[in-house]
Subunit: 173 residues, 3 copies
Amino acid sequence: METIEQRLDRLEREVALQRDEIQIRQLIASYSPKVDTSDRLERSRLLAELWTEDGVYDIGGIARVEGREAIAQVFVGMHFEQVREGVCHVMGLPFIRIDGDTALALNYSVVMRPDGAERFFPWRVSMNRWDLVRQGGKWLIRHRLNRLMTGEEETRAALRDIDAMAASADSFD
Amino acid sequence: METIEQRLDRLEREVALQRDEIQIRQLIASYSPKVDTSDRLERSRLLAELWTEDGVYDIGGIARVEGREAIAQVFVGMHFEQVREGVCHVMGLPFIRIDGDTALALNYSVVMRPDGAERFFPWRVSMNRWDLVRQGGKWLIRHRLNRLMTGEEETRAALRDIDAMAASADSFD
Amino acid sequence: METIEQRLDRLEREVALQRDEIQIRQLIASYSPKVDTSDRLERSRLLAELWTEDGVYDIGGIARVEGREAIAQVFVGMHFEQVREGVCHVMGLPFIRIDGDTALALNYSVVMRPDGAERFFPWRVSMNRWDLVRQGGKWLIRHRLNRLMTGEEETRAALRDIDAMAASADSFD
């Protein structure tokens, strides 16, 4: 028979874990409006603050950049122009695994762009593996792997991380 | 050292906030099947009940309507026909900020339509800013701003709300 | 005035319900990386473990299969080839209703495929009704109805389940 103390302890741990899940989802959800308003360096620097100081953004077919300033700079040029034409980073449902102060999330992103007057087209459809860490009470991106879903074995290997993420003693099992 | 009373109070506030987050997500998620089955006024009136009595739906490039009956009427005609051809309002991950009995959410929506026999096409790709209020224990839409992602400065200005939503003492920070 | 015991009981019930909501979302989110790495029977058998032993997958325009082995076999051939070309099952926001050890979820899925070098196209855009059950502490799929969003009345009838799911004493109301 559990004491009141033990029940409170268990509830507090569980509620904290569920709050982590919300915060991580919010982090991923916040990326979309932040990137789609990054039309100048001042704004891509704000976006880069979603990463840790020495965070990595490994963007399939584009670049692998390290550190906030390098991440901010990777948007200069092509991305800034796309923002002015309209570009929309739609985030799919993430699968999240939390281990204390670190977490992994897998999701897809679909970058939509306007195609003349009446339609849009899916430009980049990618998988993302978000390697996250809590620093100063805030979840940040330590490493984001982004790969186009064009059938490469390396990409499938990263997606197969779902097996370990879902099968082992899961944070929500 | 917190008393049992204080720990229970804190847990109850936190759990209520997390329940709000779920209810707001459910509200946004429920929009999709409700709109995509709105093939007659009886059904678009049900859909309009997601808004407050005097709620506003400001639909980019289409209309700005106010009040449940006007919202229900905006679907008459073109939308009813699209439902019979197949139309699919896919909702992206929302970013949600809750302040007591009001809340703001930002997300993208992608309206897919069948393109002949074998494919679909993204027709409208929009940002949505949902201004929500709790009335009688239920979250409702007070104002929904919807704008196509075609690069207008007004649209980016609305999306930049993410800065204040994410940066200030956040409901989940 | 509630006793401490009563407040703890209520919190435990509520937190367990919110955990169910997370686990069901994780189940749906896990489908994507599992199906998009199913390039051989060994992997589609892992995917099929998301269903109960006698689970049903009713795939619009493709097949209705029953039992894990039949579900695993339905991916042989066309799907295995698509995985090698790149295929991406993007999951939209689910609406979830939980009743004890059973649950219903409604969401959309968009299957994206690469279209030559520079773009992707939405191949199948479908509604999904997930009929779920908890077995041995784990949520599994008892029946998944998948239908292309091409305007059939049967499909709209399934989507209209949202009315009962959202209106009746809801699990999160």
